[in-house]
Amino acid sequence: MGALVTIDSIAVTPRRLSLLGRWRPRLWPLWVWLIAGAVAFPIVTVFSYLLEPKGEIWRHLAGTVLTTYVANSLLLVLGVGVGVLLIGVPAAWMVTLCRFRFRRFFDWALLLPMAMPAYVVAYTYTGLLDYAGPVQSTLRVIFDAPGGLRWLPDIRSLPGAVVMLVLVLYPYVYLLARAAFLEQSACVLEVSRTLGCSPWRGFFRVALPLARPALVAGVALALMEALNDFGTVEYFGVDTLSTGIYRVWRGMGDAAAGAQIAALLLIIVFLLLGLERWSRGRRSFAHSTGRYRPLPRYRLGGWRAFGAIFGCALPIVFGFLLPATVLLSWAVANVDMWSAERFVVLVRNSFTMAGFAAVLAVMLAAVLAYAMRLRPTTPTRLAVRIASLGYAIPGPVLAIGILLPFAAIDHALNDWLGTAFGVSPGLILSGTLVAVTFAYLVRFLTVSFNVVEASLGKITHTMDHAARSLGRTSFGTLGSVHLPIMRGSLLTAAIVVFVDVLKELPATLVLRPFNFDTLATMTYNLASDERLAEAAGPALAIVVVGIIPVYLMARASAAARPGRHSAADLTEGLKTHLT
C-alpha cells in the first residue's frame, strides 16, 4: 500500500497544513496582463497622437492627399473583399460538396497561394506584364505595334493591386468556408432536400447561411492582410493609408502626422472587426445535431466536371504556379548575381530573427492559454482578448507605434547617462533587434495562441485530474501529459510564426537594426531598384519556406480524423482567429 504510506508519512496538523498552501498558481494573471499591456502599447501610442495638436503638415494633408489615402484604402478593401469571396466560396463548395476528377488534389492545392507574399506576386507579374516583359513584347509582335499598346490596362494600379492581393488572400476564405461546409451535418442538408430544396437551393438557403460566420471571418482575415499590405501598393504607386504613414513620417519628417494617419488606419481596422462581430448578431450558428455522416457529394460529369476543374485550377495557376515558375526561371537565370556568402548572410539573419520570435511567441502563447485554462476569470479573459488583438494591427502602424516611443526612451536614456556618467550606450531599444522582435510578437502572438489553445483544449480537465490522482504534481502533469500531447501543435505554431516573420515586410523595414538585411527587405530593396531578376533569389527562398505551413495545413485537412494530427489545430486556430 505504497499510496497509503505517503499519506501516513506526512504528519499533518492543522497548523502545518496551512503552510502547504493552495496548489493553484496565482501569478498567471500578472503575466497575462503584462502581455496584454505589451500588445496594447503600440495601439495606445498611436491613438495618443490623436490628442496632439494638428500641425501644418496635417492641415496640408487633409486638404490634399488624405482623401485619396482613405478612398484608395477603402476601395482596396472592397475589391479584395468581393474578390476573395468570389474565388474562395465556390472553390470550397466544389471541393467539399461535389465529386470530380482531381478533387483531392485541388483540396489542398488551393491553399498553395498562401505561401506567396503579396509583394512577391506583384513583382513577378510586373516583370511579366510591363513594357519590357514577355507578354507585351509578344503582343507587340502580334499586333505589329512597336510603339506600345496604349489600351492595355496597367498592372501598376489600384485594380492591379486588388488582383494581386486577391490571388494570395483568397485561401483564408477558402479554408474557413471549406471547414464550415465540412462541419455541417449531412442531416441538415438532407432535411432541406426533403423540404423541397434542390441541391442548388439547398446551398443558398441552408449551407451558405450556416457558413456565414466562417465566411465573414475569412473575409475579415483577408481584409486585415490587405490593409496590412505595404509592399504591393507601394510598388504599384497606389497611395493608401499604409504607404501614407511612411510618406508623411519618413518623407515629410512629421512623425506626429504619420501617427495620426496610423490611428486612422487602426480605426478602420477596428470598425472592420466590429462589423464582423456585429454580423454574427444574436443568432446561434452552433450545430444543432451531433450526428455526422460523410457528406454526400454530387457527382459532376461532362462539361460540369470540366468547369469545376477549370474553376479550381485557375486560382492555383495564377496565384502560385505561374509566379513560382517565373521566380524559379529568373532565379536560375541570374544565379551568378548572388555570391554564396551574400545569400547565406540574408538567410542567417532571417532565420535567426524568425526562429527567435517563433520560440518566444509560442512560450507567451502557452502562458496565455494556461492562464485561461487554469482560471478563466473575467479580467483574465479580457487581458487575453487584448493580447490576441495584435494580428489586427497593420505592420506600418506597429512600426510607428513602437519606434516613436522606443526612440524617445533611448534618447532620454542616452541624455541621462551622458550627463550623469559620461557614457553613451547607443540605441538600446530602437536600434537593435529588440524593437523588431517586439513587433513580431505583438503581431503574431494571436496565431500561436490560437493554435496552442486549440491543442490544449483537447486535453480534458479530467486527464489532468487523473494524472494528479496518479501521483503527478501540476508541473509533472505538464511534462508527462500536456507536453507529449501538445508537442506537435507547439511545433506547428512555431513554424507558422516563423514563416509569417519571414514574410513580414513593413515593420521589418523600419524597425530592423541599421544595415541588417533579411530576405524580405532585400527582396523589397532590389525590386524597388527595378532589379527584379536579382530579387528573385531571396523571394524564391521565402516562398519555398512558406510552403511548409501550407503543407502542414493540407496534411491536416486530408486527415479527417479530428485530434489525430496536431496540424489540425492550425485550421482550428485559424477558425477561432476572430472569436
Partner: protein, 379 residues
C-alpha cells in the same frame, strides 16, 4: 468502530461556487472493502463532494480525513491530490491519448522498478480482462474497453480509496449492466474503499453497500439500499427510486382513510392532510380464487396493459375520494389478468404504504421518476 477504521471520512464539508451553496454540511465515511454510492439528481452537489475528497477542489469548510489522518481542514490548505493516494475514474475515462493501454496503466507506477511495474501492469490488466490490448492506443478501444482500462489505471497503484464519477454513464444500456457487474466484482476483490457518484438509483442499489442520497447540497438520507427503498424519510427519497401512486387523505384518530380503507398513520397530527405513496409493486392483484379479502381491498377497471417482459404494468381506473376518476399504476408479475375494461380487485398491505405530510402541490397522481416534484425539476 473508531474513526481510523474509516478509509475516507468527510466531516461537515460545505462548498460554494460564488453565491451558490453547492454542498451543505455533508458528512460521510467509507470503510475498506465497502462500496458507497453518492446518489442524487444532477446538480445536487454530489460530484463536488467527490472532487473535494480527491483534493481537486480546494476545501472551503469542514474536514477531510483519510485513514484517520487529516488531509484537509477548513480553507487552510490541503494535501494536493497527487499525495493523497486516491484512485479516480471519470465519466469520460480521461485516458491519455498519447500512451498505450500499458502506458496508461504504468502512469501511476513510477515508484516501482521496471520489473515490478511490468508485473503489476500485467496483473491489473488481467484483472479487468484486457491483457490482449496492452499495446493498443485508447482511440482504438470500444467504450467498455476504455472503461476497464480507466479502472485498471486507477487500481494499479493500489489506492486505499477509489473514487468513481458516473463511471458507467458513458456506456450504452446493454453494455452497462455487464460492466457494472464486472466492476463490482473487481472492486470487491481489490478491497479498496470505493465512493461512487451516480444519478441512477438502480445503479446505486445494485452497486452500493450503503447509499447517501443528496438533494440540493445536503444528504437527506443514508443507509442500505433496502432501507432507503422501504423506509424513505421524505417524499423526495421515495420518489427518487420509482414512480409512485399518490393518494390523499386526512388523519382521523391516528388513521387515514383512502380507497384502500383505513391505514395507520402514526406520528401525524389529528386533522393533518397527508399523502399516501404506494409503489406500483406494492399493489397486489387479487385473483378470483383468493379468499383472504382484507379491509384494504378495492375494485377498479383495468384500462391498459403494458408488457415489460418479466412483469406487466397495469393502469387501473377507480373513483377517487372526491368522486373524480383516478388512475393507479400496478406492476404485476402473475399470469392471470382480466379483460381490458373488466373489473379488477387490488389489495394493499398497510405496511407498504408510505405516509407523509401533504406538500402544497397536489397535482398529478402518478408522476414519472424524471419529473417527480418541483423540488427536483427546479434544480
Amino acid at each position: 468502530m473508531t474513526a481510523s477504521d474509516f478509509s475516507l471520512e468527510l466531516q461537515e464539508v460545505s462548498h460554494a461556487y460564488g453565491d451558490l451553496l453547492a454542498v451543505d454540511q455533508v458528512s460521510l465515511h467509507v470503510i475498506a472493502g465497502e462500496v458507497i454510492c453518492l446518489l442524487g439528481p444532477s446538480g445536487c452537489g454530489k460530484s463536488t463532494v467527490l472532487r473535494v475528497a480527491a483534493g481537486l477542489e480546494p476545501l472551503q469548510r469542514g474536514r477531510v480525513l483519510m485513514g484517520g489522518n487529516l488531509v484537509a481542514e477548513g480553507s487552510g490548505g490541503s494535501i494536493p491530490p497527487e499525495r493523497r493516494g486516491v484512485g479516480l475514474v471519470f465519466q469520460d475515462f480521461a485516458l491519455f491519448p498519447h500512451l498505450t493501454v500499458a502506458g496508461n496503466v504504468a502512469f501511476g507506477l513510477t515508484h516501482l522498478d521496471a520489473g515490478a511495474r511490468a508485473a503489476r501492469i500485467a496483473e491489473v490488466l488481467s484483472q479487468v480482462d484486457m491483457e490482449a490490448y496492452a499495446g493498443a492506443y485508447p482511440h482504438a478501444l470500444s467504450g467498455g474497453q476504455q472503461q476497464r482500462v480507466a479502472l485498471a489505471r486507477a487500481l494499479a497503484p493500489k489506492p486505499a480509496i477509489l473514487l468513481l464519477d458516473e463511471p458507467f454513464s458513458g456506456l450504452d444500456a446493454r453494455l452497462r449492466e455487464q460492466i457494472r457487474d464486472d466492476t463490482l466484482h473487481i472492486l470487491k476483490r481489490s478491497g479498496t474503499a470505493t465512493l461512487m457518484v451516480t444519478h441512477d438509483p438502480e445503479e446505486a442499489m445494485f452497486m452500493a453497500d450503503r447509499i447517501y442520497l443528496m438533494e440540493a447540497g445536503r444528504v437527506v438520507q443514508s443507509g442500505s439500499p433496502d432501507m432507503l427503498y422501504r423506509r424513505p424519510v421524505s417524499p423526495f427519497v421515495a420518489h427518487f427510486f420509482t414512480a409512485l401512486n399518490v393518494l390523499h387523505g386526512i388523519v382521523e384518530a391516528g388513521h387515514v382513510a383512502c380507497a384502500f380503507g383505513r391505514l395507520p398513520a402514526p406520528g401525524h397530527a389529528e386533522g393533518a392532510a397527508v399523502e399516501i405513496l404506494v409503489r406500483p409493486e406494492s399493489l397486489r392483484v387479487v385473483l378470483p380464487g383468493d379468499r383472504a379479502l382484507s379491509d384494504h381491498t378495492t375494485a377498479g377497471r383495468l384500462e391498459e396493459i403494458r408488457f415489460l417482459g418479466s412483469s406487466k404494468l397495469l393502469t387501473v381506473a377507480m373513483a377517487g375520494p372526491d368522486g373524480a376518476e383516478m388512475r393507479l399504476r400496478i406492476r404485476h408479475g402473475g399470469r392471470y389478468l382480466p379483460e381490458i375494461g373488466g373489473q379488477i380487485l387490488l389489495q394493499l398491505e398497510p405496511e407498504d404504504s408510505l405516509i407523509f405530510a401533504a406538500r402544497k402541490t397536489l397535482a398529478g397522481r402518478h408522476r414519472e421518476a424524471s419529473d417527480k416534484s418541483p423540488v427536483l425539476s427546479g434544480i
